[in-house]
Symmetry: D2
Subunit: 284 residues, 4 copies
C-alpha cells in the first residue's frame, strides 16, 4: 500500500454506536477503510480504535479533517490522534557508547522498514560521532555530570524543538531522564536491557546469571516519570543455559535489544500503538 | 464476558462504506459492538470482517437477524455466518489409537476452554472406548478396510447427521477421508504431525530425524479434498538437536500436536476463523 | 536405549585429569560410556560432570560401584550421586484444588515419558481424590490451618518416609512449606505460576495484566527455604496481548505450567540436573 | 576464557574406552580440559566428541599435537580436526545485491562475536563494493553468466587459494555453485531463505504467503552438491499472520536470515559443529 492513507487513533468511554459513527464519518466523506480494529477494555469501560483509510477519493482536505472529526468526537468525549502515512515523523536518537541498537535503527531506516527521518543524534559521549557523520545526521555531544544535568537537559529540549523532533529513541542512552524533561517531551521510546519487571535496575545480566535463569529478555517501553515503569510496547526473550557466561548473556541481550527496539519503533511509526492506563493497545 | 453475544463473519468484494453499513445495522438495532476487526486482501479485492456485539438490548430477535442482515448483505454480494456465543456447537472427535490429542480436548472442554458439546467419538479401533465411557460420550467403533471404506464412511456421515454434529475434529485419526465425505461434511479440523509443507506424507518424524533438522512443528488445518493442503489455522514449533532420538521427536511432537490442535479448535469455536482462497484469516 | 545404564553426577574442585580419571574408572571396569558432558564454572573453579554408561558388560556389581568409586572421588574432594536407569524413583504429588499439572504428570507417567512410580498424592483439599482413585494412587487429605500446620507437616514427612518417597512434586500445592520440612526432605520440585523473578508473590497474572506485559512465563525450580528463590530447572514463556483478559492469562499460564513442570520433572528423573551455588547445570 | 585453547573434534566407530583414551592423552601431556561433550549415534555406531583444553601448561608444542594424537587415533580408525582458539580462520563472504546478512556479519566480526578475519568479498554485482571499502576488505566483482560460469568459478577458487581462505560464507549469494567448486572447496556455509525443506526453490516467501502459513523460517547449512540439502547447522522461525504481505514476510525473513546465518557461523568458528551422515552434531 504505497498510496497515502490517514489513520485515526481514538479512545473514548464505551457506548453503543461508536464504530458506526466513526465509520460513517469516513464513508460520508468518500474514504475507503483499509484497516479497522477496535478494543474495549471492560474493566474501565474504555473504547479504543485504530482506523485507517485511503486518502485518494477522500473529499475532505487534510487540514480540515481534525475540525470535521471534532464534531463527531466532542459528544463522545473522545481523544484522538490523526496521522498521514506520507508525513514522516522526525526522529532523534540518543545514545551513550554502545552502537548495536543505533546501527540497527539506521540500517532499518535506510531500507524503509522504519518510516521516519532520523535527523539528530545526541550523546553524552563522542565515540559514535563518526557513525552520525557517515549517515549524514547532526550529532550533538552533551556530556552529563551531576552538576550540569539540568542545564544539558535544557539544551536537549532546545534541540528537540529546534529540529522539530516528533520522537526520541533512547538507543542504549544510559542516563536517567528527569521528570521535567519527560513531562515536556513525552514521546520517548526506551529499550530496557532486561525482561521487565525482572531484574530492574543495574547490571541485570550479572544478576540473571547469578540467579541461573534459563530465559533472558528485553523490553521496549514509553518513558514515563517512573523509571522503567512506562507502558510496554514490545518484549522478546531468548534461551540461555549454564554454559552461557555473563558475556554470552550480554551478547544475546544485544540481539534481543536490537530486535525489540526496532519492532517497537516500527509499531509506533505505523501509528499502531495506543496508550491508556499505563498500558498499550498494539493494533497488529 | 459471560453475557451472550452474536458474531457475524462476513466476506464480500471490497468497496467504500462496508464498515459503516455493517456497524450501522448493529447500531440501528441497539447492539453494542465489543469486537470488530477487518482485513482487506488487496490482491483479490476481498473485504473480510468479524463483528461481535452484545445481545442484551439488541432489538431484533435472534431468529430475525439473518433475514434482516440479508437486506444489507445482498447488495454487497456478501457471504456471512451468524453465531451466538451461548449456542454450543456439537462436536464429534475421530481417533485411531493415540490418545494424547483426545485427552487434551476432553480436559479443555471440561475446563470450559473449548466451548462446545463433545457428544460423539468415532474410531477405527476400539482401544479408546473406555475413555469415551469415562467422559459419557457415545463411542462408535467403525473399523476401516479397503473393502468397507465407502460403506463405513456412509455410516460416519449418518452418525454426524443423526447427532446433528457441527464440527468434526480428527484427533490423530489415521485414515484418509474420501473427497465425497469431505464434500458432504466440510467442517473438519485435522492435526498434521509435521510442520506443513515440510515432510508431507508418511513417517515425518523419521524423515526429520534423518535430515537432522533443528526445529520440528505441527499444523492444524481444515480438511479439503487435497490431503494435507487445506487452509492452515495454527502452527507451532519446538527445538530439537542431535541428542533427540526419533522417539524424542515423537514425544515432543505429541506436545506440539496437543497444543496446536486445541488452539485451532478454540479459535474455530470462538468464530474467529474465516476461510477464503484456501487460506484463513484468524481474528485474534 | 532400553538396556540398563548407570549415571554418575559428580562435582569437585577443578584440576587437570578429572575427565581422564573418571573415564578410566569406567573403562577399567569394562563399561561403555554412552553420554558424557562436563561443565566448568570458572568463577568458583568447580568441575561438574554427568557420565552415563551401559551396565551390560560392566564388571563391578551395582552395590560395589559406590565403594569402588569413592577411591577415585575422595582424593578429588568430589561429591557424587549414582543412579541406575531401571531403578524407578518413588514420587509423591502434592496438590491443592487445581488439576491441570496433576493430570499432565499422570498422563506422561502412563506413557513412560516420566520414568518413576507415582505412589502417593497429598492434598490440603479433597476434590482431587477421585483422580487418585482412578489412577490407583494412595490419597491423603491433610487440610492445613495456621494451628495444625506443624502437626500436618510432621504427618506429611511421616508419609514420605513410610512410602519411601524419593521426589515430591508440588503440582500447584498452594501452601508454603516450612523451612524444617524442606531441610528434612530436600528433594522437592515446584512450579511457580510466573516468570521468576517477575511478579513474585500473590496474584501474578493479575499484576502482569495490570502491567500490560506482552509475554508471560512459568518457572520450575527446586524448593529451598527461600520462597521461590530455589535453583531454576526450566522456564517457558507465551505471548499475550491487550485482548487477553486475566482469565486468558490464567488459561495460557496453565499450559505453560503443565509444560514446564513436566519438562523439569523429566530432566530430574533422567538425572540430568546438578545443583550448585543455588543454580542448576542441566545436561541436555 | 581469553587464554588460548586447543580443540579436538573427533569421530570414530564406537567402542569402550574412547573417552578414557582421549582424556588420558590430554592429561598425560599436562592439559586441563575445559569442555568435553560426546555423542553416540547408536544407529550407525558412531562416536563423536568435542574436547577443548587449555594450552597453558600443555607439554606438547602445537605442531607436535597432530602427530602425537595420531598414535591414539589410528587404532581407533578416528578422523579428527585440531583447532587453536587464537588461530583466526580467514573468511570470504560472497554476496549478490542484498546487504542485510553481510552487514550483520561485518558488525559481529568487529564486536568480536565472530572470531575470524574477513579478508575477501566476492560478488556477481558491484553495488556492495562501497561497504567492502569501508571495512577495508578486498572486493572482487565477478559477474556470472551461463557462458562464463566455469571460468568465473575457476577465478573464485584461485582467489580462495591465493588469500588462503578457510571458510566461505554465502551471505545471500544468489548463484548456484557447481558441484566441482563445492568438491574443491567444501567449507561453505549458506543461508536459505526458507524453513527447509518447506518451499525449496524459487520465491519461497511468495509461496508461503499463498499457502497462508502461520510461521516462516530460515535455515543455515553447509553447502553440498545437492542444492539446499546439505547438513543443517541452525534454524529459526517467526510468526506471521494474514495481515502480513509478501513484503512483510521478506522483511521478517531478513531478520531470520541475519540471526540464523550469524549463529551458524559463530558455531562453526568456535569449532562446535561436527558433520557426519549429512547431519550435524552441534556441541553447545
Amino acid at each position: 500500500m504505497s498510496q497515502p492513507t490517514a489513520t485515526l487513533l481514538i479512545s473514548c468511554p464505551d457506548s453503543p454506536g461508536l464504530v458506526a459513527k466513526i465509520a460513517n464519518f469516513i464513508y460520508a466523506n468518500g474514504g475507503n477503510i483499509i484497516h479497522a480494529e477496535q478494543h474495549t477494555d471492560f474493566a474501565t469501560s474504555l473504547f479504543l480504535i485504530r482506523i485507517e483509510w485511503q486518502l485518494q477519493g477522500f473529499n475532505l482536505p487534510r487540514e480540515a479533517i481534525n475540525t470535521a472529526f471534532s464534531a463527531i468526537a466532542k459528544p463522545l468525549q473522545a481523544t484522538w490522534q490523526l496521522h498521514f502515512s506520507d508525513t514522516l515523523p522526525k526522529i532523534a536518537i540518543w545514545v551513550t557508547k554502545q552502537e548495536h541498537c543505533l546501527l540497527d535503527l539506521l540500517w532499518r531506516n535506510q531500507t524503509k522498514e522504519l518510516p521516519g527521518i532520523i535527523s539528530v543524534m545526541i550523546s553524552n559521549h563522542s565515540n559514535l560521532e563518526a557513525i552520525a557523520r557517515q549517515f549524514g545526521i547532526d550529532f550533538y555531544h552533551l556530556p552529563i555530570t551531576k552538576e550540569n544535568k539540568a542545564e544539558q537537559e535544557a539544551k536537549q529540549l532546545e534541540l528537540l524543538h529546534f529540529h522539530e523532533i516528533d520522537l526520541v529513541i533512547l538507543a542504549k542512552y544510559m542516563q536517567i531522564l528527569s521528570p521535567k524533561l519527560v513531562e515536556e517531551f513525552p514521546n520517548i521510546i526506551n529499550i530496557h536491557h532486561s525482561f521487565l519487571p525482572a531484574f530492574p535496575g543495574a547490571k541485570p545480566y550479572h544478576r540473571a546469571h547469578a540467579r541461573g535463569v534459563k530465559i533472558i529478555g528485553a523490553t521496549a517501553h514509553y518513558v514515563t516519570e517512573d523509571l522503567d515503569e512506562g507502558p510496554i510496547i514490545e518484549q522478546e526473550v531468548a534461551r540461555v543455559n549454564h554454559q552461557d557466561t555473563i558475556a554470552d548473556l550480554i551478547r544475546k541481550g544485544r540481539d534481543l535489544e536490537r530486535l525489540v527496539l526496532s519492532r517497537a519503533v516500527r509499531l509506533h511509526l505505523q501509528h499502531k500503538v495506543l496508550v491508556y492506563d499505563n498500558k498499550t493497545v498494539v493494533f497488529s
